[in-house]
């Protein structure tokens, strides 16, 4: 007992010695690395805002940025789990292309024969078939890696070639278009956004969820008498979360429909054209909602489910995981299946956005996906990585690219910049890790 009191005093003494900033981070338990990445993102945004003379931080550009990010962000969440287990998946771009082509053919050629064009069930049957194909590809690649012991690098390098070739064979190289109109909503655009009211509802639900989660975790910790965060820290986190969510909704709602679309809409619905134009909010785009939902589900899987725990344990020490009785091979297969499913979802977003399924869809996406995960703090040595980090990583990559487009930088030079940023980001991370030890 005396020991414990003594330890507590020592702890308190140590806390008192810390400077206010450290105490703040300890109390709020904010991940400083994640914060660093958000900081980098803010710097990139402000930099482009300055360089483009105010073109970057507009509701329109930010809205487009989030839509453009969603496909890679969806895949990056799965890539985190793959890299955490010391594997790699080079085939995601090709799998995206293949699933996209299957879904394109399904909705444009096969299903209309039986259900008629524009049948309301077409999109869901299409999406389901794409997801099943993705899962099957993942299961195949995962099984070869886990049970035949072929390195993931090689299996997915083969997959990169195989699935790209298979994409060509589905239609002998023809582009499939147009997509079903309901399916197309998944790609965003004026139609594929949920509007102002629904966006506010989503925002408020998110706020309630944030506060609820904070309260629940406090209650749980109280139940077992664990140390609690100070009350001010709880308030701070709740307010911060809500401000961020509602701010994002406000920005999405501040991007209005283009004038000619709004005018057509007004004509079609018999609305008189008001002075100064009709301002209809886009609201949150559906692909962004899909990406956020995927992010939440994947975070839940990674942190709250036994499967996620196994993934991290496996990445930290494969031998220990095996000796603890974890069926490590099955875990590997499941991770790759999950990756296949995410590729299919990303394929749905990107084919819907393009309104076509093409041969080249998703080319180089494997590299952007891996880069997003790595910039987001996933360690190639295994065992470390967060879903949220990878999604922010995807946003960083996309911000760089669209900022450079706004600046009118040639695409070869864009690639050079993205490549350099990737290396610098990982180097900075290495420095951070070395210091943290």
């Amino acid at each position: 007992m005396a020991d414990i009191t003594h330890a507590n005093q020592a702890n308190r003494a140590r806390n008192a010695d810390e400077n206010p900033i450290r105490r703040f981070f300890r109390a709020t338990e904010i991940d400083t690395r994640l914060l660093g990445m958000v900081g980098a993102l803010v710097i990139i945004w402000l930099g482009f805002q300055f360089l483009t003379g105010g073109l970057f931080l507009t509701p329109r550009n930010l809205w487009n940025l989030t839509v453009q990010t969603s496909s890679v962000a969806v895949m990056a969440t799965g890539m985190v789990l793959i890299i955490v287990t010391r594997n790699i998946d080079l085939s995601v771009g090709s799998v995206l292309g293949f699933c996209g082509m299957i879904m394109g053919v399904m909705q444009a050629k096969i299903l209309p024969q039986y259900l008629g064009l524009e049948h309301p069930a077409i999109w869901i049957i299409t999406l389901t078939s794409g997801v099943l194909v993705g899962a099957a590809i993942g299961a195949l690649q995962g099984s070869i890696i886990a049970f035949l012991n072929v390195p993931a690098f090689i299996v997915t390098l083969g997959g990169l070639l195989v699935w790209r070739g298979a994409t060509w064979f589905v239609t002998s190289g023809q582009t499939v278009a147009p997509m079903n109109s309901t399916f197309r909503l998944m790609g965003g655009g004026t139609e594929g956004s949920i509007g102002a009211t629904a966006s506010w509802i989503v925002g408020i639900v998110a706020c309630v969820a944030i506060v609820g989660a904070i309260l629940n975790s406090r209650k749980q910790r109280k139940r077992f008498g664990f140390p609690l965060r100070p009350v001010w820290a709880e308030y701070f986190l709740s307010v911060l979360g809500c401000v961020l969510v509602l701010g994002a909704v406000a920005i999405a709602n501040a991007y209005f429909w283009p004038i000619n679309i709004a005018r057509r809409y007004a004509d079609a619905n018999g609305i008189a054209w008001p002075e100064g134009g009709l301002q209809i909010s886009h609201g949150i785009a559906i692909p962004v909602l899909i990406a956020i939902a995927v992010g939440i589900v994947m975070t839940f899987i990674a942190t709250r489910l036994r499967f996620g725990r196994y993934v991290f344990a496996l990445g930290g020490n494969p031998e220990a995981a095996e000796l603890a009785g974890i069926k490590t091979r099955w875990v590997t297969v499941k991770i790759f299946m999950l990756m296949g499913v995410l590729c299919a979802i990303a394929a749905a977003i990107s084919t819907a956005r393009l309104n076509a399924a093409t041969n080249a869809q998703g080319e180089l996406d494997e590299l952007y996906t891996i880069a997003a995960a790595v910039i987001g703090g996933t360690s190639l040595a295994g065992g470390v990585g967060t879903i949220a980090g990878a999604m922010i990583g995807a946003l960083v990559m996309q911000s760089l690219q669209s900022g450079m487009v706004l600046l009118g930088i040639d695409s070869p030079f864009q690639r050079i910049v993205v490549g350099v940023v990737l290396v610098v980001a990982v180097w900075l991370d290495t420095v951070y890790r070395a210091r943290a030890k």
């Binding site: 077992f224 664990f226 036994r306 930290g316 220990a320 603890a324 974890i326």
Partner: protein
């Protein structure tokens, strides 16, 4: 001797070979409840291999394992755990990147009625068990990688006793530890012994284990040199068994004993 009772573990005539090399050749050892048996031998003598057969990491080529006198089928680490066999490996076998509670429950996580991980309950139990082993341990939120050797060792031991092990295997339990921590592990072994747990201590250093063990079994070149009660032999005699394979008079010779002319 306690030979009248049924041994907790009996490994009979176990053999295993890797690519033509007989790592373990016709070895037999046993263990009674509340007993500490030290398994000694040089590096490469086959002691770790023999014990990994018991813990399910390797599958034997020949021989049988009896638990409480009944034949046991042990093909993987999960099977071994079903028989109450817990192993603390030389490498500690902890997942460095997750915290103590996650390591304690690795492979056997507590879950809420919704099927999600019950982290709070696991942490509560971890605090209780770790409090018993190492009252100074406070770093429950940090990945195990941040802990000292002794703390990691207590995590590994806590992991084993958390699940009511009846048979505990400790492979070089004190190899990575300082003198104070070694003493702590020694205390812990005595405590576990009182609770009726049978313990195999594996070591290549006789000084580590001689005082803790009730009996020693010595291996050399994959074969058992002999068994002896620690009160019947001296350290020097046991060293003779380890180095030369020479069996002292009061020991029971095994197939690996040097044939005296």
């Amino acid at each position: 001797m306690s030979d009248q009772r049924t041994p907790l573990v009996e490994m009979k005539n176990i053999s295993i070979s890797f690519g033509g090399i007989h790592a373990v050749d016709n070895a037999s050892i046993d263990l009674h409840p509340g007993e500490v048996v030290a398994l000694l031998g040089h590096n490469g003598a086959g002691k770790s291999t023999l014990i990994k057969i018991l813990s399910g990491a390797y599958r034997r080529d020949a021989g049988e394992i009896l638990i409480n006198g009944e034949p046991a089928e042990i093909n993987n680490p999960r099977d071994a755990k079903k028989y109450g066999i817990e192993t603390i490996y030389q490498t500690l076998a902890v997942a460095d990147n997750v915290d103590a509670a996650a390591n304690l429950y690795l492979g056997r996580e507590l879950r809420t009625p919704w099927g999600t991980l019950d982290d709070v309950a696991m942490e509560a139990k971890a605090r209780e068990v770790m409090g018993r082993l190492n009252p100074n341990f406070q770093r429950f939120k940090e990945p195990v990688k941040a802990l000292s050797g002794g703390q990691r060792q207590s995590v590994a031991i806590a992991r084993a006793i958390l699940f009511d092990a009846r048979i505990l295997i400790m492979d070089e339990p004190t190899a990575a530890l300082g003198p104070q921590e070694t003493a702590q592990v020694g205390e812990l072994i005595k405590q576990l012994k009182k609770e009726g747990i049978g313990i195999f201590l594996i070591s290549h250093d006789i000084h580590d284990v001689f005082d803790l063990a009730d009996r020693v079994s010595v291996m050399k070149n994959g074969q058992v040199v002999g068994h002896a009660r620690t009160e019947d032999v001296t350290k020097d005699e046991v060293l003779g068994m380890i180095i030369l394979g020479k069996c002292p008079p009061k020991a029971i010779p095994g197939p690996g004993a040097m044939q005296t002319a």
